[in-house]
């Protein structure tokens, strides 16, 4: 047993603006680990992981807390909490899968502090909001002292707990196209509804017109090192008439196109089978 963590020793800076925060991150001598709601980081340190030398608290930065709804897009600041997303009716109409995912994170206490940016940056394959972000075909906006740049969400998660963000970059916001006429769905399978890390979860954004699937975006979490889009299944569905047969074929294709691992939460077989069932569930709930 290692001695219990002494949180009093944490070295935390409190920039007041995003400009101050990116200035800290620009220089290796002042750069620190970003601390948002702390619901991932504090747990890691409590469990014995050594904390970093410097922390930069970005909790509450006004530039990261904004939500903007424009004609075609929803822009959500990285510091927006799951609780805010859960309760925000403006956003629910346009990205309902994301709102459902946020409402499924932990329980109310975790939702009050955990942020969307923290969930994305943590880059766990079990991060619940990632599949819902992926199906929007949106962008993530990254801020550094030099510039803002955007990266497509489909290129953001690059490996197990790795992202396309550079060490000096802070996630500023998510730019998400509204769903329009599409139907979105989010399903999470865990040991219990609350406080359970997902065994597997799915998000989908599917557009149906006169019985034909015009476009389908389907994403899964916890079946690979990163959250993934089911490109093969999406391509197979596009342009086809929705039928019982089609649903069965899509289910089988989904099962064949994932290669999940077994871990403490679930077996590979369960995840593969359930991947197919979740695709079926998305297709059977398009009305």
């Amino acid at each position: 047993m290692s001695p219990p963590m002494n949180f009093d020793l944490l070295n935390i800076r409190f920039p007041k603006t995003l400009d101050e925060a990116v200035a800290f991150q620009a220089d290796e001598r002042t750069r620190g680990r970003l601390l948002a709601g702390g619901t991932d980081l504090m747990v890691q340190w409590a469990a014995g992981a050594p904390p970093p030398q410097r922390l930069i608290s970005i909790w509450g930065l006004p530039e990261l807390s904004a939500i903007r709804v424009s004609k075609e897009m929803v822009e959500i600041g990285a510091g927006v909490t799951h609780a805010f997303l859960r309760d925000c009716t403006d956003i629910r109409a346009h990205v309902p899968a994301l709102v459902a995912a946020a409402a499924s994170v932990g329980a109310t206490q975790i939702q009050a502090r955990g942020t969307l940016g923290g969930n994305a940056a943590n880059a766990s394959p079990a991060g619940d909001t990632a599949p819902a972000l992926l199906v929007t075909d949106g962008m993530v906006m990254l801020a550094s002292a030099q510039r803002f740049r955007t990266v497509p969400l489909t290129a953001f998660w690059t490996g197990y707990r790795q992202t396309a963000a550079q060490p000096d970059e802070i996630i500023a916001a998510f730019l998400l196209p509204k769903k329009g006429r599409s139907v979105e769905r989010f399903r999470k399978i865990g040991t219990r509804k609350a406080q359970a890390i997902s065994k597997i979860m799915a998000a989908s954004r599917i557009r149906l017109h006169g019985g034909t699937i015009e476009s389908a975006a389907i994403a899964l979490g916890s079946v690979a090192a990163t959250p993934i889009r089911l490109g093969k299944v999406e391509a197979f569905l596009a342009g086809k008439k929705l039928s019982r047969r089609l649903v069965e074929e899509a289910e089988a294709l989904a099962q064949a196109s994932v290669a999940p691992i077994a871990d403490i939460r679930s077996s590979a077989e369960y995840r593969r089978w359930t991947a197919g069932r979740l695709v079926r569930d998305a297709l059977e709930n398009l009305q």
Binding site: F7, D8, L9, L10, N11, I12, F14, L35, G38, T39, M42, V43, A46, A47, L55, S57, W59, G60, A83, G106, A107, T108, Q109, I110, A112, R113, K193, A194, Q195
Partner: protein
């Protein structure tokens, strides 16, 4: 360790404190302020025994470096809820329904229930379950806890339109 100063509205009273920025809110409450109603069950955000209300929202004080709470934050602990009418009504309902056994989880349960009733005076059973899903109880089996919240909600609706 650098100390910082913060002024919060703690249980209704403006309170200025100096502490190391990383000090867990839970330790600050229990060790420095002797507000021992918040309990440490897991230290990892799972059990809800350390729940407090930050600007009216339940949060787990074991995961919060206290320096992250800015000046002006409103903090309510079980010691403060006791002084509110809705808090006393909840307390009485928990006792009458037999919702308390060892009591370890109860401060967190009451705070989560209090926050719920502020927002939703007539919660469904499902809404109560969701609101209390982050609070674990190893003794009661939850049935009586949910009954207690329902009873308190009914009494508060009868006696006034604004619980407080």
């Amino acid at each position: 360790m650098k100390s910082i100063e913060r002024t919060w509205k703690l249980n209704g009273t403006a309170t200025t404190l100096r502490f190391p920025a990383g000090r867990r809110l839970l330790d600050l409450l229990r060790e420095d302020l002797a507000l021992t109603g918040a309990k440490e069950g897991c230290g990892e955000g799972e059990c809800g025994a350390c729940t407090v209300l930050i600007d009216n929202d339940p949060a787990v004080s074991c995961l919060i470096p206290a320096g992250q709470l800015p000046d002006g934050t409103t903090l309510l602990t079980i010691e403060g809820v006791e002084k509110k009418r809705a808090g006393r009504v909840l307390q009485k309902a928990f006792m009458e329904t037999g919702a308390v056994q060892c009591g370890f989880c109860i401060p967190g349960m009451v705070l989560a229930a209090y926050a719920l009733l502020q927002r939703n005076p007539k919660p469904s059973t499902a809404a109560i379950r969701t609101a209390l899903a982050g609070n674990l109880c190893r003794c009661t089996g939850y049935v009586k806890i949910i009954a207690a919240v329902k009873l308190a909600a009914a009494r508060l609706r009868k006696t006034s339109s604004t619980p407080g």
